[in-house]
């Protein structure tokens, strides 16, 4: 009894704000299993609570308080939150703040990955002119850290250098750093991302599509769907004309996680190539929910094929609303002009 009471008294008080924003135990456990983390939920939870209550000025002796804790564990905790954010496609500002706090703590504890990410954040912020002049020292320190980490062959740093060059459209340099990274590490999730980006550089080169295809195949092999949907879609685009049968499952995978560009592509593939009008109609319906004009066009054709007059008429009404938009007016007009005969039939019915 005494033990129970003392535990109640010593346990940190958990704010309602935290309880509202923090995911449920079962969800976290699933991610912990996916990421194969060293710490369990029970070991992580008090740290999460404490981090959420942490203010900027406060410094906590983490090592003393949690002797089992390593800097890599903090990064894993951050990864848990990042993964959840990617999976749910939902950003909660408190959880995002917690991610940043975890990153800072990991850097304080000497984690190279965290230092690297923070340094690049500082450099990028300076490039975007977001920082003020008095932060010049931070930039210099960040650059020093990056150089130091690069000389030590720190994997993430090499990848982030590549990313920076890619962002600045210096493709040759980006490719060089990505290849350097892949020499050090080629079978991790991080390598998956590098393969994806490398593919995007290679496709820009003349006759680079074969290498791009290889890179993207490797990428989707290493990364989970949530993080590689973009490369699934690009690979499907590459196959679309020459091997539609290979493109279809890739696009369906993208659609399963709600990649918005793939609905119209899938719809037209089913409508024009596989002649499965019912399925095409369903894909277009999904696309129409995000008001994709091309999906309306496809849906109208599907309705005509399936002789669903009522839906076709409704779709036509919606299309006429699009005519008010100057940018879309031309497409809608051309489409309506080309379907003149079908519309006459519709009016008769």
């Amino acid at each position: 009894m005494q033990r129970f009471v003392s535990r109640l008294v010593s346990a940190p008080r958990i704010s309602n704000k935290f309880l509202e924003s923090f995911p449920k135990k079962r969800t976290i456990n699933k991610v912990l299993f996916q990421l194969d983390t060293r710490l369990t939920y029970h070991e992580m939870y008090p740290i999460f609570v404490q981090v959420s209550q942490l203010t900027n000025k406060e410094s906590i002796p983490w090592k003393k308080k949690y002797p089992y804790l390593k800097s890599s564990d903090i990064m894993q905790m951050r990864n848990v939150l990042v993964t959840l954010r990617m999976q749910n496609k939902f950003v909660h500002k408190d959880v995002l703040a917690m991610e940043n706090k975890l990153l800072n703590i990991a850097a304080e504890l000497g984690n190279n990955d965290a230092i690297s990410i923070l340094s690049f954040n500082v450099v990028q912020a300076q490039e975007n002119d977001k920082t003020k002049d008095n932060d010049q020292n931070d930039v210099e320190t960040a650059n020093r850290f990056i150089k130091e980490l690069y000389t030590r062959n720190h994997h993430l740093t090499i990848k982030l250098i590549g990313d920076t060059f890619l962002k600045n459209k210096a493709y040759d340099k980006a490719e060089k750093y990505y290849k350097e990274f892949l020499k050090l590490e080629n079978n991790t999730k991080l390598a998956g991302e590098v393969y994806g980006n490398l593919g995007e550089i290679q496709i820009k080169q003349v006759n680079g599509f074969l290498e791009a295809e290889k890179s993207w195949l490797k990428c989707i092999e290493l990364l989970e769907l949530e993080r590689s949907s973009r490369w699934y879609f690009l690979l499907a685009k590459l196959y679309l004309s020459s091997e539609p049968l290979r493109a279809k499952p890739l696009l369906e995978s993208c659609a399963s996680i709600g990649f918005k560009d793939c609905f119209k592509t899938l719809g037209f593939l089913e409508l024009n190539y596989f002649q499965n009008y019912e399925r095409a109609k369903e894909w277009f319906k999904l696309g129409m929910e995000i008001t994709d004009l091309e999906c309306f066009l496809g849906f109208f054709d599907c309705c005509l094929k399936l002789e669903d007059i009522e839906s076709a008429k409704n779709c036509l009404k919606s299309l006429k609303i699009f005519q008010n938009d100057e940018s879309k007016k031309v497409i809608v007009d051309t489409f309506l002009e080309s379907r003149k005969d079908s519309m006459k039939l519709l009016e008769k019915k």
Binding site: I203, V206, N207
Partner: protein, 422 residues
């Protein structure tokens, strides 16, 4: 960012443009048709007979030398059987007595046939042996054709992205973009499987000797392609066209449907009934899959697998057409002559089914008017598919013009054959 990929296929354009009908009558007035026709009339493109029966070596009968990378005459059958010439030669030979002229004449024809079979068998072996390295690089039965189609697509995108493409092309020219395979290698890869006909063929020739020619006339499918006589070839072409379409009607095989007004309407491969796909695949001269497999697919109604095979053939046509057109319309040395073999012309027409039942393609190609008709059919077919594509004279890629499904545009087109424009 992914402009290159986005350009591969734009659905917005295709959805709208697909419904516009194309009229056959207009094909003969298209820039591509006119450019091809001009090349032929000006002598830049020449069709020559590739073998002379009276010479032991396979040299050109005319002074022209066949374009090395476009022709593979060794893998194709003869277009003219010199029966009359041999008989005439015996008739004029004073060493042969009058009483034995008839027997000697037919004996020499038999000898000629056996020699032709011998060289046919040798050539079949040579084709198989010479293409072994290419086969390692391009496994056409397992996705290499699709890769080559992608290569063409990407080169089209490159042309489109280049600044020079912004200005409208004044005349039809093919940008000189080398493909990783040349036409000779491609067609020989397709034709190399003829070697598997040799065991049965060889045994029949060994048993029946000269009479085997009679057997092969009735059963031409037993014979390797390059050992066919014109008679056997005609029978084969009739079988192929009969099984694929009716005499004058169009059974809707392949993406386009032709109506009576001469309009061409889009029809994708998955809309084709299984029976029609089966008969088309069975009637393709250089089948890439065995007949029993096709039969099982048909019986089990495995449409996907049948369509997959159909697509491979269409991909082959796309690459073949592209390589031929590149060869004929290349820009770098526009003045240089392109010499095609008559065998290749006949084969192109037969593979694409641009003929009617009972037409003897070999006889036609040996007659100047017939040769012109065959060539113009081929030009019309190419104009339909490739006019206004970025590789030649237009602004759109092939995918943009025909779409993902339309890539496999090929069909027996009765109206191309009977159109008054030719």
């Amino acid at each position: 960012m992914y402009t290159r990929l986005v350009m591969v296929r734009r659905y917005a354009t295709s959805t709208v443009t697909k419904s516009y009908p194309l009229r056959l009558q207009h094909l003969a007035k298209t820039p591509l048709y006119e450019a091809l026709d001009n090349r032929y009339k000006s002598g830049t493109l020449q069709i020559v007979q590739s073998t002379n029966w009276n010479t032991k070596t396979t040299t050109s009968s005319s002074s022209e030398v066949l374009t090395e990378t476009l022709n593979s005459t060794r893998s194709l059958p003869m277009t003219k059987f010199p029966r009359q010439e041999i008989l005439e030669q015996v008739k004029l030979d004073p060493k042969v007595g009058q009483w034995r002229k008839f027997i000697t004449g037919w004996f020499r024809i038999g000898i000629y046939l056996l020699k032709m079979y011998k060289s046919g068998i040798q050539d079949t072996f040579k084709v198989f042996w010479d293409t072994r390295n290419v086969k390692r690089e391009f496994d056409i039965k397992n996705g290499s054709l699709a890769k080559l189609v992608r290569e063409i697509e990407m080169s089209e995108v490159t042309i489109k992205l280049s600044p020079s493409s912004l200005s409208k092309k004044a005349d039809v020219k093919a940008a000189s973009i080398p493909l990783s395979i040349n036409r000779k290698q491609l067609v020989e890869l397709i034709r190399r499987d003829q070697i598997w006909k040799l065991p049965v063929f060889f045994s029949l020739v060994f048993i029946f000797e000269e009479i085997s020619a009679l057997i092969f006339t009735f059963f031409p499918r037993v014979c390797p392609y390059n050992c066919l006589t014109p008679g056997g070839y005609k029978k084969l072409s009739n079988i192929y066209i009969k099984d694929t379409t009716g005499i004058n009607d169009n059974r809707g095989l392949c993406p386009l449907e032709f109506n009576k007004q001469g309009n061409i309407k889009y029809k994708p491969p998955y809309a084709i009934p299984i029976e029609n796909i089966y008969s088309f695949l069975k009637c393709f001269p250089q089948s890439m899959i065995s007949g029993w497999k096709l039969y099982i697919y048909k019986k089990l109604k495995l449409q996907k697998l049948l369509c997959d095979q159909l697509e491979k053939i269409y991909q082959y046509f796309l690459i073949d057409d592209w390589l031929l057109l590149q060869g004929i319309l290349k820009t770098e040395d526009g003045a240089a002559k392109v010499v095609l073999s008559d065998k290749e012309l006949v084969n192109c027409v037969m593979e694409r089914k641009l003929y009617r039942k009972d037409e003897d393609l070999n006889e036609m190609v040996n007659d100047s008017l017939g040769k012109n008709i065959l060539l113009k059919r081929l030009f019309l077919y190419w104009s339909l598919r490739y006019d206004e594509t970025v590789s030649f004279n237009g602004e759109h890629t092939f995918s943009e013009k025909w779409g993902v499904d339309n890539i496999s545009l090929l069909k027996y087109n009765a109206e191309i054959v009977i159109t008054k424009d030719i």
